[in-house]
Subunit: 296 residues, 2 copies
């Protein structure tokens, strides 16, 4: 099969054999934002046309390619949902003279007790990819990132989730707010990160804590390099305080650098943590392709 993880800014394709082994890989900065005039088919052919020509199939794609700005919008599937529900709702696109076809994984939607919605797209496939690692029973997953996801999994199905704008807020504050003027990324400074975590547990609220980064910078008690790490700890700390995970293990699924930050923050909050293999999307796509095979 051909597994495609097609996001906002990047395109990643994997050629996978019948045993689930990745035998080839292609990667390009061809996220959906880089595709003009809906030329998604051309972009796909330009990257893996030779694989398609060689008869490798099916093609299963996940991520923002299924959003309103993508190739074809896939309606969100309502939680609780597992691999079977997702496979049943795979949408398809066709193109070209020979009627070539690719499948697109839908995202998930949920509503909280107050009726407010939450959505995810792309993460459902990553989660499907780790279900075997998690095994039966109830589990808490944290997928840190631009939009951090906290997910409840029960017996192999996604029950509910919440999203936190932690990563995006960090980026817009660094790039577009007054905080960015006194902030510089000089890599990890664990003491500053921990100070941000500690601050998140003090009274005053996030809106006030944010301005404290500015005030301490002006007062000379926070260097630009420390401010960067302090803000990271502050935001991650507020996210974790809001979620307030209690008991059991938090399974972390994200890039190595981000997973390390959440592991540190969660351990400090008294949680057990378990970092999952971040390449889960490929395995999720393989599993959904397998379910598709059974369905077809």
């Amino acid at each position: 099969m051909i597994a495609v993880d097609w996001g906002t800014t990047s395109f990643r394709a994997y050629r996978i054999d019948a045993a689930g082994i990745v035998v080839d890989k292609r990667e390009a900065p061809l996220g959906i934002l880089a595709i003009k005039e809906q030329r998604f088919a051309e972009a796909l052919e330009s990257q893996v046309g030779d694989w398609i020509e060689a008869g490798v199939h099916p093609i299963v794609m996940s991520g923002m390619i299924g959003s309103r700005q993508g190739w074809r919008e896939q309606a969100y599937v309502r939680c609780p949902a597992g691999p079977d529900e997702l496979a049943a709702k795979l949408g398809s696109v066709t193109w070209g003279m020979q009627g070539r076809k690719a499948w697109i994984v839908p995202g998930l939607i949920t509503r909280d007790a107050q009726g407010v919605h939450d959505v995810l797209r792309g993460e459902e496939t990553q989660i499907v990819g780790v279900l075997d690692d998690l095994g039966p029973g109830a589990h808490t997953l944290c997928l840190p990132g631009t939009h951090s996801k906290w997910v409840r999994v029960d017996d192999g199905r996604i029950v509910s989730f919440t999203t936190h704008m932690t990563g995006e807020l960090f980026a817009v504050l660094r790039d577009h707010s007054i905080l960015g003027r006194t902030m510089e990324n000089a890599g990890d400074i664990p003491t500053a990160f921990d100070a941000g975590l500690a601050r998140s547990k003090q009274p005053g609220g996030l809106l006030h804590h944010l301005f404290g980064v500015r005030a301490d910078s002006l007062a000379g008690t926070l260097t630009a390099e420390a401010a960067h790490e302090f803000l990271s700890g502050l935001l991650i700390g507020h996210e974790i305080t809001s979620v307030a995970p209690t008991g059991g293990t938090v399974h972390i699924l994200g890039s190595q650098a981000l997973a390390a930050r959440y592991e540190r923050a969660l351990s400090g909050a008294g949680c057990r943590t378990h970092v999952l293999d971040p390449d889960a999307a490929v395995r999720g796509l393989f599993r959904l392709a397998t379910a598709l095979g059974r369905k077809a």
Copy 2:
């Protein structure tokens, strides 16, 4: 005297007679960010050179003109501080062949129980301008804006304050985050504003509540016009929940539109409110000029 309210984006000057009556006014988009190569003296002369020529004095300026990016940085005065402490710490700049001189009001600095700093610059002069209205005793002031200030005043002195990045966060989220894509300013929609206020009191935390604006927009339960007002209510609601003003009256000092939003939010939170005359800076500058006269 000549009172100058010189901020980041605007310049406002007032000619005031000995009785404290504003007899003339000049306004220009000559905030400190618009001044190149430190040409502050030229900018001031270009606006009120005729007043200076006519012998009107003293000139007292407040706002970001006293910041590191302004004409001359004025060290923050430590709280508690009132008009006397501020007048005693007025800095001065001189220019020109005739040794012309203007005074600059310093900002204020405070530290909370955890040792984190907070600062303000410009608001100290506005607060001085309303001290007579407040009278003796303890008072709570709210100055909504880019950086909302909550101030404790006791017997005519500023005891402590906290800053909340509410206004700036609203602006960066609207202009630079994914939320801005599904948001449009179509003026007041009280029901949407109230829904944002109500959301701020629900569990989940601000980082999660922010993403809910996106999710409800995608789900079709929040229009672009409503999202704009909902986000405003959400952020103001989180600010007020963090401050948790208890008992007594909250005195609001800000532009009419913003004061109306805070009045609505605070009333909903069970607070009594009192909206002060927003032109307080001029009266504050007059009062400091008077104190300067006594000192000189």
